[in-house]
């Protein structure tokens, strides 16, 4: 056999939000968000678009997917906040990840901690995530306009959620030693209950959410979970241009 051809992204990184705030790797304490909620919606997208966005260090998932996630942390140690972000599904080596394209948060103090500790590049916005009798709604409003107004409906409960639902860790663009790097944001989840529903969108401004290729033409599902979230200190960093197979993913040493 000749050398095996592998599948990688070929984006130049210009679409990836990179936080300008230096990552604080000294603080390795865990943050727990008790009584939090996660609203997570997944869509398929064109493979050619995912390949053109992802950098050469990452494989696109097959099929190509992107997610919109809301995390609502009430009464948390970092304040009351709602964080929302979009991510394109990818892999480092064989591990599934989501490359964060854009992130939004409604609390400046929480934003600052999420940027310093986990590498999110966050835009201030009014972010809401709330449940009603039979629906869950998510909304993101920047100073210019509402860029997302969507919901899930026809919800059903999922039993034994811990074994059923899986969130991939995200990769956040940030600076380590002044080098643009992807840092892995991950958490442990203690689920209380989860429902799954069908996504529907009133407003979904793909461009404002990171890339116009992230359209809602092929929705997969949305879930809403009541969960305690344990945010873990970053453990891995990923190069923008070198795949994991060539040493592009490595453990972070503070």
């Amino acid at each position: 056999m000749s050398e095996i051809e592998l599948l990688y992204g070929h984006g130049d990184g210009k679409d990836i939000a990179v936080s300008k705030i230096p990552l604080n790797l000294e603080d390795t304490s865990e943050i727990t968000l008790k009584g939090a909620h996660i609203f997570y919606v997944l869509y398929e997208m064109k493979m050619s678009a995912a390949e053109s966005i992802l950098p050469p260090s990452l494989h696109p998932s097959i099929p190509a997917l992107f997610s919109l996630t809301f995390i609502r942390g009430n009464n948390s140690s970092i304040g009351d906040f709602t964080l929302a972000y979009t991510g394109i599904a990818c892999r480092t080596g064989i591990k599934p990840r989501h490359l964060v394209m854009k992130a939004f948060c409604d609390n400046l103090k929480a934003s600052s901690i999420l940027e310093q500790r986990y590498g999110f590049s966050i835009c201030p916005a009014k972010v809401t995530c709330k449940e009603s009798y039979d629906q869950v709604h998510g909304k993101i409003e920047t100073k210019d306009a509402v860029i997302v107004d969507m919901s899930i409906g026809n919800c059903i409960p999922l039993v034994g959620a811990g074994g059923i639902i899986k969130y991939s860790p995200t990769l956040n663009g940030c600076l380590i030693n002044d080098e643009p790097t992807l840092v892995q944001f991950e958490a442990n989840y203690d689920f209380k209950n989860v429902i799954r529903g069908e996504p529907a969108e009133k407003i979904f401004n793909s461009k404002s959410l990171g890339h116009e290729a992230m359209t809602t033409k092929y929705p997969i599902a949305g879930t809403y979970a009541a969960v305690d979230i344990h945010l873990m200190p970053p453990r891995f960093q990923v190069s923008l241009d070198k795949p994991a197979e060539e040493g592009g993913a490595k453990k972070i040493t503070p």
Binding site: I94, R196, A221
Partner: protein, 368 residues
């Protein structure tokens, strides 16, 4: 103890005609040799849209080609997907019976339901109902083979009375199996009187409780077919070489290649969480993250059949003691090994390892 081969037909990029044909032709050549060497079965998966990992969308056609080039080896669906969006159960009954004709009664019919979003989403299948539709398929297919005319009204499939043709050669019908990746599925097999085809990359000891429970459950089963297929087949990898260390190294390369390809698929739990997919499948266990930065990479599982003949005799003896009736081997991954090396491995295994178990079988028979 019987031995077989298992094919995913994993294919390297680019997906050129040359590469795709090479994979199929090499697999057929291996199987023809295996038939002559005394291997008892060849199994072929059904997968769709799984780039690199498996280009085996039509196992019936692959097995038909095998059937006409071999004499004794059994041709086995490993598995046929029992999901309404992909197949009608009528078509599975017809295809398996047709293959039974072509092979003169050498078919085994494995069943399953798929665990990837790639496949279920691609066919717009109802993810929540795959377990229930699988159950219905398992119960109607044997009746389609054995009843002259068949009619049915069910939840996922209905049909007016028809004569489903051809009928299989085997009397009463081909043995029924279930593919087992998620823990607990072996009990689904046992409760229905079906064989358990357990895909295992783990240690032998971890499977002992599963096999014991299978044997207990099948004693009180409600068989879906006309007979109980009380069989446990373990599917894992084999590479046999006189140099044990080289064999282990090549084996590790095969596993890594398999893991890389499997890692490209999207599990149901990643995309469409559902009550019908509670446990992590094979893929999930392959790519679990280490728990802490200091975690060491796990040692290779002791149940894998990589090594020199003596090592393999020891490993397979432990599987035999654990209760396995058959070992079904994957011998290639994305054409990582040169074809001649795969054939050499099969020859060495047949010469040095198989006689040990055949001899034991003869001794048991003589003492019976």
């Amino acid at each position: 103890m019987k031995f077989g081969l298992f094919y995913e037909l994993s294919t390297p990029r680019p997906f050129s005609t040359e590469n795709q044909r090479m994979v199929i032709e090499n697999a057929i050549e291996q199987t023809v040799l295996a038939d002559k060497l005394g291997f008892s079965s060849v199994w072929c998966v059904e997968h769709h849209f799984l780039e690199e990992y498996s280009h085996s969308s039509c196992p019936d056609m692959f097995l038909a080609a095998i059937a006409r080039e071999t004499k004794d080896i059994r041709v086995c669906f490993g598995i046929g997907t029992c999901v309404p969006a992909m197949h009608s159960p009528i078509r599975w009954a017809e295809k398996a019976a047709y293959l039974d004709m072509l092979s003169n009664g050498r078919v085994e019919f494995g069943t399953g339901r798929s665990s990837t979003w790639n496949e279920l989403g691609g066919f717009n299948a109802n993810v929540d109902d795959t377990k229930k539709s699988w159950d219905e398929y398992c119960r109607v297919i044997p009746k389609m083979w054995t009843q002259e005319r068949f009619s049915y009204e069910g939840n996922y499939f209905s049909m007016p009375e028809r004569c489903i043709l051809p009928k299989p050669v085997q009397d009463p019908h081909p043995p029924m199996w279930v593919a087992v990746t998620a823990p607990g599925t072996e009990l689904d097999a046992a409760d229905r009187g079906m064989g358990a085809l357990i895909l295992s990359i783990s240690d032998v000891e971890r499977n002992i409780p599963r096999i014991k429970e299978y044997r207990e459950h099948i004693k009180t089963c409600d068989p879906v077919g006309s007979f109980i297929n009380d069989q446990v087949a373990i599917a894992n990898w084999m590479y046999c070489h006189e140099d044990a260390e080289l064999a282990k190294q090549k084996g590790a390369e095969l596993i890594n290649t398999f893991g890389y390809m499997a890692g490209q698929t999207v599990e149901v739990s990643e995309a469409y969480p559902a009550n019908s997919y509670k446990a992590l499948g094979l893929l999930g266990s392959l790519r679990q993250d280490p728990n802490a930065p200091g975690d060491k990479k796990a040692a290779p599982a002791s149940g894998l059949c990589f090594g020199d003949p003596d090592t393999l005799i020891d490993t397979i003896s432990r599987w035999e003691a654990a209760g396995a009736d058959q070992m079904i081997f994957m011998v290639q991954a994305r054409e990582h090994l040169p074809q001649e090396k795969v054939l050499e491995s099969l020859r060495l295994f047949a010469k040095e390892v198989m006689p040990h178990f055949n001899q034991k079988e003869s001794t048991v028979a003589a003492n019976a």
